[in-house]
Amino acid sequence: MTDTISVSGLLKNFGPTRALDGLDLSVRTGEVHGFLGPNGAGKTTTIRILLGLARSDGGTARLLGGDPWKDATDLHRRLAYVPGDVTLWPNLSGGEIVDLLGRLRGGIDRKRRAELLERFQLDPRKKGRAYSKGNRQKVALVAAFASEAELLILDEPTSGLDPLMEEVFRASVAEFVAAEGRTVLLSSHILSEVEALADRVTIIRDGRAVESGTLTELRHLSRTSVRAELAGPAHLDRVHDLVVHGDRVTFTVDNADLDHVMRQLAGIGIRSLESRPPTLEELFLSHYEAVA
């Protein structure tokens, strides 16, 4: 499989602050790639470099087989972008803005546009200034989903959307990638969204990728939560966050130690057992708690 986006060792400085510090990112064609990190980790900076809006200070970045800075105009024919904080022209109506962005990207499918307006319940006849945050976001989303792009770059696209619209958004992303050869880069800090949509995930911290892979792969590297009722007193080693309430215990265990801990439990005698793979949130926190 080829990569739609491949970034390695990307550097970007803003004055004395280093925003990107050797970032690696590869997004395979046809996948939804979750790009995770808290505010200020460098997600938006990376996207701005990929869009040719900012220039990197080092490292390489390739997008759809081209150079995002030099070939910006040509590459932009093949992608659509939704920023995290959409600002609209106060005097243009939502419909006009959708059409403007569509035309600039080389045409718009009227039927699909009408369908998306309906689905997102967006009134296109309001002036830009009259939209709420969520509705401004919808204007950009409708314009992007109505395009014929191969690549969608979404930078925290659902901020301000209500849960119903969040659901519509997820369905639209799934529908978008269902067509052959289409790719989505989804930057987010809403973990449930990424968990529901992404095939693979890259977690970044302080301008570097700290983890990358499928969710299954990432989980494998992490801990499992266990809750058990035991026949005797709990004497366990190689476990974390152990809480004992009489014969009930809860703890987490590194997946590499799972086998060892289970033998210990079996030795004591298990009355009931519940185990749960780590959520993305736990994965995420495990990378960030280190800093805190």
């Binding site: 600002t87 962005l101 600039l104 990207r105 002036k127 950009a140």
Partner: protein, 523 residues
């Protein structure tokens, strides 16, 4: 109903703690500074009566209103009155809309409204903020005028006229803010009323006096400061201001927070914009149309003012000298016209700067990023906006020149001759204004955060022009301004070398800006 007004008032004053003092200071100093300037220029009443002949012409009356008394005070009130009253009205209406409809539109008022505030509190607080500014400004105007040695009664009358005019337009804005949903529209309505008041007064002062009495600005002038004051005129304004205030309260009680009395028209469901230039046209056309209307009016008035000038002016050597330095020495009327078009060129350069800096405001508001993430190239987007600075400038100059040529031609029965002369006099200003577009583009491309300094460049040109009217200023200080190199037409000789030079300088600056913008990060 009024609960929380005191808190909102404090908030309003806190938010305006820089803006309003500047407004008030400008309003307070302007009349006294004018008086001091005239004191130097015309030390005796005899000097004043020498120049009063020039002042009696209809064009200047359209701008300044009638001159009620040939004294230092009368001349001061005449010269600065129209400007002072328009500015105090603007201060008040902007303040009231900012603290009512704009707050409501952005949703900030809802935050406040959900706290323990009464229905009338925001409007009351806004009116109080504006009233405080109006009263302080009027009081300072009176004190400063009296301090320059003018009669106290006249100073107080002028200050009072300033205050009540402000209050009246605060009332206008309070009503406008209830009518429409957007702060900009409310400001537009209130400013439209102000514009109509100005126009009615201008027409009334040159023809049917009844029209002047239909205008609050006419009332302010007819307070006749320093000329047998009419104390009931400010009372008239106060009564109208109070009436408008009451109307605003009635309207507030009848609507929901965030709602407007005039329903928002639905905007178009679909659009035909499909290129960066089409978008730029859509965003910039309103400003351009506004300028065209203003330039038709300004050109016509200034062209019409030239003819009555020659006789009365010839006797004042000092004024003749000033005009000769500003406008060249080819006959007094031509010098005057050349000086007028020099000032016109600088004024239109404000449009040039405004149109150029739209680039920066589009970038700073982050509206440009989604555009540049489409196949629209950076240069194409930049040129789309710059086209307005580059083409709009000669268009506006041509409009002013045509209007001036027509009115001057009609007065001298030489339309065929004067139209091309004054058109030329206007159009030669183009390359100098382009240089400012170049400065704006270069700053935008190379140091975007400093783009706003372009306005500093325009101010520097104005200062150089003012200095040019004085003797004993080093020439290089004046030559900094591109406008100093424009041939003084009509009357002077049309030297094309400086025009090419200025155009080339502008082109180099634009080129530097484009090159810079292609290299730098956006945002």
């Amino acid at each position: 109903m009024f609960a929380g007004t005191a808190t909102l008032l404090r908030l309003g004053l806190r938010l305006d703690r820089v803006r309003l003092p500047i407004w008030v200071l400008v309003l307070a100093v302007m009349p006294a500074a004018t008086a001091a300037q005239y004191q130097d220029l015309y030390p005796t009443d005899a000097d004043i009566s020498d120049v009063s002949g020039i002042l009696a012409n209809p064009a200047l009356e359209a701008i300044n209103g009638p001159l009620f008394s040939v004294t230092l005070g009368g001349l001061t009130a005449w010269k600065i009155g129209a400007t002072e009253f328009v500015l105090v009205a603007l201060m008040s209406l902007l303040t009231v809309v900012r603290h009512t409809r704009t707050e409501e539109e952005t949703g900030r008022l809802e935050l406040v409204g959900s706290a323990a505030t009464g229905r009338y509190a925001p409007l009351t607080a806004a009116l109080l903020v504006a009233s405080i500014a109006d009263v302080v400004a009027g009081a300072l105007v009176a004190v400063f005028l009296a301090a320059t040695g003018l009669p106290v009664a006249g100073s107080v009358a002028f200050g009072l006229a300033t205050t009540v005019t402000g209050l009246l337009f605060a009332g206008v804005a309070a009503v406008a803010a209830q009518l429409v949903g957007a702060g900009r529209s409310a400001t537009g309505i209130a400013a439209g009323v102000l514009g109509a008041a100005y126009l009615a007064r201008a027409l009334g002062d040159t023809g049917p006096t009844g029209l002047s009495w239909a205008s609050p600005l006419g009332w302010a002038m007819r307070t006749r400061a320093f000329a047998d004051e009419r104390w009931w005129a400010p009372v008239l304004s106060l009564v109208v201001a109070a009436g408008l205030g009451v109307l605003a309260y009635v309207l507030v009680a009848r609507r929901d927070v965030g709602a407007s009395l005039v329903p928002e028209r639905p905007a178009p469901e679909a659009g035909s914009l499909g290129s960066p230039f089409a978008l730029a046209w859509r965003l910039q056309r309103g400003v351009l149309f506004g300028w065209i209307v203003a330039m038709v009016f300004a050109g016509a008035v200034l062209g019409g003012s030239a003819n009555g000038l020659s006789d009365s002016l010839g006797s004042n050597q000092e004024l003749t000298d000033v005009l000769a330095r500003l406008g060249g020495s080819a006959g007094i009327v031509d010098s005057y016209l050349a000086a007028v078009f020099g000032i016109m060129g600088l004024t239109i350069a404000a449009y040039t700067v405004q149109a150029t800096l739209r680039l920066r405001s589009e970038e700073a508001s982050q509206r440009v990023e989604p555009l540049l993430a489409t196949p629209v190239g950076r240069v194409r987007w930049l040129l789309g906006h710059l086209a307005f600075a580059v083409l709009g400038t000669p268009l506006l100059l041509a409009v002013a020149g045509l209007a001036g040529g027509l009115t001057y031609g009609l007065e001298t029965a030489d339309v065929g001759g004067q139209v091309p002369r004054l058109l030329g006099a206007a159009l030669v200003q183009t390359p100098a204004a382009w240089v400012l577009a170049g400065v704006g583009a270069a700053l935008f491309g190379l140091v975007p955060r400093w783009s706003v300094l372009t306005w500093g460049g325009l101010i520097a040109c104005f200062v150089a022009l003012e200095l040019g009217a004085l003797l004993g200023v080093s020439q290089w200080l004046i030559d900094v301004s591109p406008f100093a190199h424009v041939p003084k037409l009509p009357g002077g000789s049309l030297r094309v070398a400086p025009l090419f030079g200025l155009t080339a300088a502008a082109a180099v600056l634009v080129g530097a800006g484009v090159a810079g913008f292609r290299r730098r990060d956006v945002g």
